[in-house]
């Protein structure tokens, strides 16, 4: 598997480097702006948290594009059958891509933490964005865990379309709930924030929420592994749908 991972990085290193540096450009520029004296008075902890969240979203979105393109980089029947016949086999072929995604996401978290540290050195008012970055790291893994088996089974084009359909269905359910469900909490922003603050003031509720949040977060790791197993199982079926 290490050899295939090496091959993957070696053949795509320019793309990986450009994606990584490109995605980190905005956080770095933001960090520079955050440090400037003009911004120090305007930035509160809450605003900086929102800005970190926005930047993390952008960085992981761009990172996701890179991870996807790496996953479908060698969608060729000849290569797929060849690699399936090697001792490393399909497990190695798929495993290398899953490991690459994991390592790339870990590096992104580290780079974002460093950017945040750089910004916070300039202004003590800024909030620490580490928790947000880690949260996005797990969201990223979840997205890839859904997408990769579909891409392995149906090829990249159909796989991606299926992912969009799944997200679309989830969004549709959400909108249907917002239209017909109990939306009293969202009647207006005051009601929403009143309920939110009341929930945060209830210690037991916060504890339960934290517990569920931690369980869901950590559950991503076994889900990611199961996704890998599924992708391995489906790989040869997906090869048939390759154009070349």
């Amino acid at each position: 598997m290490t050899g295939l991972l090496y091959k993957l990085i070696r053949t795509n290193w320019v793309k990986i480097l450009l994606f990584f540096l490109g995605s980190m450009f905005y956080p770095f520029m933001f960090a520079l702006i955050f440090r400037s004296d003009d911004m120090k008075d305007d930035l509160t902890s809450g605003i900086s948290i929102m800005l970190w969240a926005f930047m993390a979203f952008m960085v992981f979105l761009i990172g996701g594009v890179c991870e996807d393109s790496i996953f479908n980089d060698d969608e060729r029947k000849k290569w797929a059958y060849f690699v399936a016949s090697t001792p490393t086999g399909i497990k190695g072929q798929i495993g290398a891509k899953y490991l690459f995604t994991l390592c790339y996401s870990m590096l992104t978290v580290t780079a974002l933490i460093l950017c945040c540290g750089f910004a916070r050195d300039g202004s003590s008012e800024l909030a620490d964005g580490s928790v947000i970055f880690i949260g996005f790291f797990y969201i990223q893994l979840t997205m890839r865990a859904i997408e990769f088996p579909l891409m392995a089974r149906f090829g990249s084009k159909i796989g991606k379309s299926l992912k969009i359909i799944i997200i679309g269905i989830a969004a549709f359910i959400f909108f249907a709930y917002m239209l017909f469900g109990d939306t009293s909490a969202f009647a207006d922003m005051d009601t929403f924030f009143d309920r939110l603050l009341a929930a945060l003031a209830d210690e037991n509720k916060v504890k339960r929420m934290t517990l569920w949040f931690s369980i869901i977060t950590l559950a991503v790791i076994p889900i990611y592994y199961l996704s890998y197993r599924l992708a391995v199982k489906w790989y040869l079926k997906g090869v048939e749908s390759y154009a070349k």
């Binding site: 978290v109 880690i134 504890k207």
Partner: protein, 293 residues
Amino acid sequence: MPNKKKTLLRIALYLILAYVPVYILCFAFSDKEGSLTSVLAGNTLMLYPAIAVIITRIVTREGLHNSFLGFGKRNSGKYYALAVLYPIALPYVSALLLHLFVVKNGSITDSAALSDGTSAVAMLLLSIATGFATAVHGFGEELGWRGYLTPKLEELMPAPAAVIVTGIIWALWHGPLLAYGYDFGRDYDFFPYGGFIAMIVMCIFWSAFLTWLTKRTNSVYPAALCHMLIDTVLTSNLMPFTYNANGDKFELRTNDFWGQIISVFPMIIVAGAVSMVLMWRKKSSGENKKALS
């Protein structure tokens, strides 16, 4: 002989590159209380050994030979599992020892951790999630110490000696932080020298355990994961055992420094000693087989 000289030069170059930035940053940005005034400096400290390895390998033209960057031999899964389970068990075994031997008033069941199980479980899961996501920092240190220094020292001395020397060098690398009281605080006799001795002992045994993981898997990643999980899981999960349900700190029979040593060190020492024996035994049996053949 020329090979030994070459190895020594490589080690010297690596150590200069690993030590100098850390010592400069830690002294330049120290708040004299054990922490750093620069967040960025604090966040980068663990990455310098890896940067030092990369530069050393480029300068000496070693390439990636014996770099332990692969994901390990077949059936390495159990060692990865151990790399996760050991840091999880460490705070709980330590808490048990703390309440058996150090805490004067109250039992472990009165502790904040056990009286509020929901928060304790959430804290454990979140600290594991954090450790996993930030494992690159652990990789930063392990690529340097276990992935480069120990194998290089093994070219000059027997494996156990190499593990011990790595432990000492690794402990002294934390020197500026210890000098200001980062790991063990400042409230103990012979400050900061007692802290240095404790750190050396701790690092020798951890070095043995992490080296064993690295050798068994032929990969630096289990050690990196284990290292990062120790950093994120140990303190955050042991702390609630030092307070009672009302949030008051338990009275201790000793000061915090000795409390830490009595509670946390036994498992570190046992794991390190067992790893050392396992490594030695494997090596001896391998040598015997070679001699017989």
